[in-house]
Each structure stands twice: as structure tokens, then as C-alpha cells.
Symmetry: C2
Subunit: 160 residues, 2 copies
DNA sequence: CGGTTTGTTCATTATTATTTGAACAATCTG
DNA sequence: CAGATTGTTCAAATAATAATGAACAAACCG
């Protein structure tokens, strides 16, 4: 059991390792999802550890992250006490989970910050004030647009 | 000259430091852009170094990165031999430059990889083949959609 | 030219993020 | 319940990334 990764598996894992990088997630998270994504059978921690040659700690933590935004589904396997997982393959679910867990929390802080900035604006020296105000307004415009793009992008992912 | 950052500047810099993080750019790049963004006057390396308390090397490298996707504009200042810069404030230009320099190059590699994967598919054991094929096709679907979303998102940024 | 000034590069150092593995807690099993 | 199995946590080790600063090259200036 626990053969090394096949060439195909390596390629797929590599894809998700890159995606993990873009999303600022640890490499191991990409590896885990990659292996699960291409595996016809549910896998448990032992399987994943030996396939990827990573520690139990990384595996456990990585699965925790993947579960946190629903990228992985627990599966019951008869006669085995260990936890098994399959990759969630519906993109919409994963993205929705990711946005909810990792993106939205940060957006709120952005709004708080903006009101803090507006109060600081009052203290600016008059000769710079016009310029600085224009910049802050521009920033608010960007923030607003980014907020509008997000729901659209989510909607862009059609149900299968 | 070269006073420390004001509260307002700190807030603005902090915004761009976070954005730099999301884009996997060094912190100093965010700092540099932030200071320039909120500065009514063009700034040179010395100004930026002393404002941000970072080294000349970081400043030079950071500006190089910012220039590479047009986030910063060189400005001529009469009677001063040093290079001065202002922040490019038109979001569309920055995003276009960033996508061209940092995003498109990677997309091409993705397509190469996909054809490599397809050839590996042939070697799969028959009983797994159906499943694996379905997964690869799904991956291609995702890739295609991401490619379609990008131009739309670019277009979403209206000219002022 | 010879001496400055300015910006870049890159080996070294510092910092930050990730992984490891052993200790622990929880759950099962006979 | 005692022993075994399984998953989690977290301090320490390691690896990855960014910043520093001195050496360098290029452009300027008298």
C-alpha cells in the first residue's frame, strides 16, 4: 500500500500546489487536495501521509483547513475506524466556502479602516487636503467596485 | 525632511501592504506604493527610504517591480538629477499591467500542462479511467471558466 | 579625465511561514 | 476498564522569502 505518486498524480498535485500558492495556503494543502481530487477512492490520513510523504501533523492540519471551507468531504467507510475523505469537486461549493471563511472576514475590516481614515482626513494641512481627499475617495471607489465584482464572479460559476 | 509616517500615511500604507500580500508581492512593494499613492509630490529613492526606513536595495527593487507593471510613473523634476516617481492612480492601467506581466505568463504554462496530462491519461488502468477522465475534464472546465472570467473582470473596471 | 552622485545587483543576514514529531486527548474494543 | 488506535496540538526545527548593505556600474559635472 501507499505507492509513490504516479506521473499523472504528480501533475495534478502540482496544479493544486500552485493554486494553493495563489490563495496563500500552505503547499501541503494543495498537495492533499490534489491527491484526493484524482483519487477514485476515499482516503484516510495514513493513505495521504504515505502517498505524499508528509508528516501526520501536516496532514491533520491541512485537512482541517480543507474542511474549513468545504473542499473536502468526510466519508464513512464500513469496518474502518479511521476518518476518510473525498475531494469536493463542485467548484461553486469550494469557492463559496473559501470566500465565506477567508475573504469576507477581511472585507469588514476594510470598512472599519475607511471610517478611521476619514476622521484622520480632517487633520490634514489645507494645501494638501484636496489631493489627499481625492486619493482617499479613489480608494473608496476601488473598494466599492471590488465588492461589486465579487458577487458577480461567484455567480459566474454556474451549477453543473 | 523625511519625517516619519503620519497616522494617515500609516493607514494608507497598511492597506497596500495587505494588497501586496494578496498578490504575493513583498511587503516593501506595498509600502512604497502606499506612500507614493498618498503623496502630492513626486518622490525619489532617498525620500522613500527615509520615510519608510527601509534600505536602498529594497527601495530600488521595489520600484523595479512597481515599474514592471506600470504602478508607478517616472517624473522629471527640474534641477534634480535623481529619479522621481508618482503612483499611477488609474486602476485599470495597473491591473492591466499586472495581468500582462504576472498572470498571463502562467496561464500559458497551464495549457501546456493540460496536454501533457491528456497523454498520461491513456496509460491509466481501465477501471479507474472513467473517474480520472471525468476529473481531468472537470479541471479543464474550471480552467476555461477562469480564462473567461478574467477579460470580463478587466472590463469591469470602467474608465473614470 | 578624476571625482561625485545615483541607482542596481547580489551574497549574506534576518524574518516569516511551514513542517515535523512527540506529547496529549479522545474514542474505540475486547 | 486497560490497552490500543486515531486524530489533534503545539513547541522546535527547517525551509522559503524578503531585506540589507557593500561592491559595482553608469551617468553626470567641473
Amino acid at each position: 500500500m501507499g505507492a509513490a505518486l504516479s506521473e499523472l498524480e504528480k501533475e495534478v498535485v502540482d496544479i493544486f500546489v500552485r493554486i494553493a500558492g495563489v490563495l496563500s495556503l500552505p503547499r501541503s494543502v494543495g498537495e492533499l487536495y490534489g491527491v484526493l481530487f484524482i483519487s477514485p477512492e476515499p482516503m484516510c490520513i495514513d493513505d495521504l501521509m504515505s502517498k505524499l510523504k508528509i508528516s501526520k501533523g501536516s496532514t491533520s492540519q491541512g485537512l482541517k483547513i480543507l474542511r474549513s471551507f468545504g473542499a473536502v468531504n468526510p466519508v464513512y467507510v464500513a469496518g474502518d475506524r479511521r476518518d476518510f475523505f473525498t475531494a469536493e469537486a463542485e467548484l461553486r461549493k469550494i469557492v463559496a466556502g473559501f470566500v465565506k471563511e477567508q475573504v469576507y472576514p477581511h472585507l469588514d475590516k476594510g470598512k472599519e479602516r475607511m471610517s478611521r481614515i476619514e476622521s484622520l482626513l480632517a487633520e490634514e494641512a489645507p494645501e494638501q487636503k484636496a489631493f489627499v481627499t481625492e486619493r482617499i475617495e479613489r480608494l473608496q471607489g476601488w473598494q466599492k467596485r471590488a465588492g461589486a465584482l465579487l458577487p458577480f464572479a461567484l455567480n459566474f460559476i454556474k451549477p453543473e
